[in-house]
């Protein structure tokens, strides 16, 4: 399959803005939807609209079937062990909040610690801050260096300190969870989450991976990765909006109390007590966003198509071109650098922190918001500002950045147009 054939699946990419061809480079915020996803959403709404699980009639059965097919599609897409480990949510944020609340309720007390990365999106930072405020636990930071790489020695120290916190042999581990992002929405580097998971598990600590960007660019196999939780949004991988998945290992999910409560998540209810339904329903109170969730099979099928070697190669060329073109400008500061990491088993250095189609930068003497505003009028959609990840932006001593983020449907011509227009924009603004 060629990039052009893949691109043709997305009707919106043919539209014009301000009379110019749209160049959509804000894929890290949301991807576009292929026709198959739009059709599925419309077909379900038009033909099978009914409340899922609750009724015996035909429409309800069809809607429920579509919902459960979506669960199987999500399970297969990330290779989870069972459907009970796939919780549908409204997005990645809701998935992480579910863990922060429920896991927190079950396992986190005053004196405990939660470790989060310095480069996190607010969605994987603020829920943990609030958990710490609620419980009296404290937040510890896994720092990044100026290339955007984790300082894993700090993680080792934090895990060790958690274990020896009380001094006595056999004392419980006070670090209760490590929450890190697979790929930062700002730096776009594929983080060595497997190393964090290995180190944390060795210390008896579970790990949540924020997969909002990771699910888009990586082949995620949660069993191979061995993460305890993996959270992602559907709308960044071609599905309809308002959709997300929380994967959790059954051993954890079973021990966690429900987050939201209400209909369809209960077993028996009397006026003064309820016991809860089994997994995954325990975490799915209320009517699910079924017409949107039901687009998962088509969305993930699209994501699999993009793994066609021809498309993947083309995508890599576009990435390489952008990296080079941006670095060639003396006035551009591009954040995040690919690098290496010492392999745990052999100690040999191996490549890590590959850039996954996300380019965040600043330009000397030009404000990020001005750049985005002028590019918009040239038909180019990029993001600017703090990108819901203020600490990582501040780490680099700036007030905001411009971000161009790619999807497999972006062509080399678009990348060239972007670089040309960037040049024009800077000349206009300076």
């Amino acid at each position: 399959m060629t990039t052009q054939e893949f691109r043709d699946l997305f009707p919106i990419l043919k539209r014009k803005v301000y009379g110019k061809d749209l160049v959509y480079l804000d894929n890290a915020a949301t991807s576009q939807r292929p026709q198959s996803v739009l059709d599925k959403f419309l077909r379900l709404s038009r033909e099978s609209n009914a409340n899922i699980y609750r009724a015996v009639h035909k429409l309800s059965a069809e809607a429920t079937d579509a919902y459960e097919q979506a669960r199987e599609a999500a399970r297969a897409f990330i290779n989870a062990g069972s459907r009970e480990e796939i919780i549908f949510t409204s997005g990645c944020t809701a998935a992480i909040n579910t863990v922060a609340y429920s896991f927190g309720q079950a396992f986190v007390q005053a004196g405990d610690t939660i470790v989060v990365g310095e480069g996190e999106h607010h969605s994987n930072l603020v829920p943990w801050q609030l958990l710490c405020e609620r419980t009296g636990a404290s937040l510890r930071i896994l720092p990044i260096d100026d290339k955007g790489h984790w300082d894993l020695s700090t993680l080792k120290e934090l895990l060790l300190a958690g274990k020896s916190g009380e001094g006595a042999a056999g004392a419980p581990q006070r670090v209760k969870l490590v929450a890190v992002t697979h790929i930062s929405n700002v730096l776009g580097l594929v983080n060595p989450v497997e190393e964090v998971i290995r180190l944390s598990h060795a210390a008896g600590v579970p790990v949540l991976v924020d997969g909002a960007q990771g699910i888009v660019h990586e082949r995620v196999d949660v069993q191979a990765m061995d993460c305890d939780f993996y959270a992602f949004s559907g709308h960044k991988v071609y599905a309809a909006t308002g959709t997300g998945v929380l994967y959790g290992k059954k051993q954890w999910l079973e021990q966690m109390p429900p987050f939201l409560s209400g209909g369809e998540m209960v077993g028996t209810v009397t006026l003064d007590h309820a016991d809860f339904a089994g997994l995954p329903h325990k975490f799915e109170a209320g009517t699910g966003n079924f017409a949107s969730i039901a687009t998962f099979p088509e969305a993930f099928e699209t994501a699999l198509m993009a793994r066609d070697p021809d498309i993947a190669d083309a995508c890599e060329s576009v990435c390489a071109y952008l990296e080079e073109a941006l670095r060639a400008r003396g006035d551009v500061r591009l954040y995040g650098e690919p690098g290496t990491i010492a392999d745990a088993a052999t100690g040999a250095s191996r490549p890590a922190y590959r850039r996954a189609g996300v380019f965040s930068f600043t330009i000397d003497g030009v404000h990020h918001e001005d750049v985005a505003q002028v590019l918009d009028k040239m038909g180019i959609a990029v993001r600017s500002g703090l990108m819901c990840a203020e600490p990582v932006i501040r780490h680099f001593g700036v007030n905001g950045m411009v971000r161009a983020s790619l999807a497999p449907y972006n062509t080399m011509e678009e990348a060239e147009t972007f670089i040309k227009c960037l040049d024009k924009a800077v000349n206009l603004l300076r």
Partner: protein, 143 residues
């Protein structure tokens, strides 16, 4: 030239351009022409809240007229505040408070800014009015 005449003049000037890129360029030129604003005046009190790019606005009353000066770290925002200064600076508080703001929509500025900048524009107008009110009250207190 009255405020209304100045506003009309600006609406006309912008209408000369068909493309929004050219209108931005015109705005940017206004921003570049804005007199320099001393660093020591860039204080938090002069910072307009509600703008993603930082905007500092200062008002002095000279011979009964409010004289504005301003700066921004973003050039388009600087252009916007420069345009507002062109309209509202060196006027009596009463003139400022009685003037309407329709010219902003007639230019099409609001709809051609990002939502954060639309908020910023709103905050700039509110601050200009607030500073005019403060000047009016100071005048009354003196009288």
């Amino acid at each position: 030239m009255t405020i209304a005449q100045k506003q009309e003049e600006l609406v006309e000037a912008f209408s000369e351009f068909d493309e929004w890129l050219d209108k931005y360029e015109y705005l940017i030129e206004m921003g570049k022409a804005l007199p320099s604003f001393p660093e020591e005046k860039k204080t938090d009190e002069r910072l307009i809240k509600g703008c993603q790019s930082r905007v500092w606005l200062d008002a002095q009353t000279v011979d009964g007229k409010v004289v504005f000066s301003a700066d921004s770290d973003a050039i388009i925002t600087r252009g916007i505040i420069a345009m507002l200064i062109e309209v509202y600076s060196n006027r009596t508080p009463e003139e400022i408070l009685q003037a309407d703001e329709q010219f902003i929509d007639q230019i099409g500025l609001r709809e051609n800014l990002s939502p954060t900048r639309q908020n910023g524009l709103l905050s700039m107008m509110q601050t200009i009015r607030l500073l005019a009110e403060t000047a009016a009250q100071a005048e009354k207190a003196q009288a």
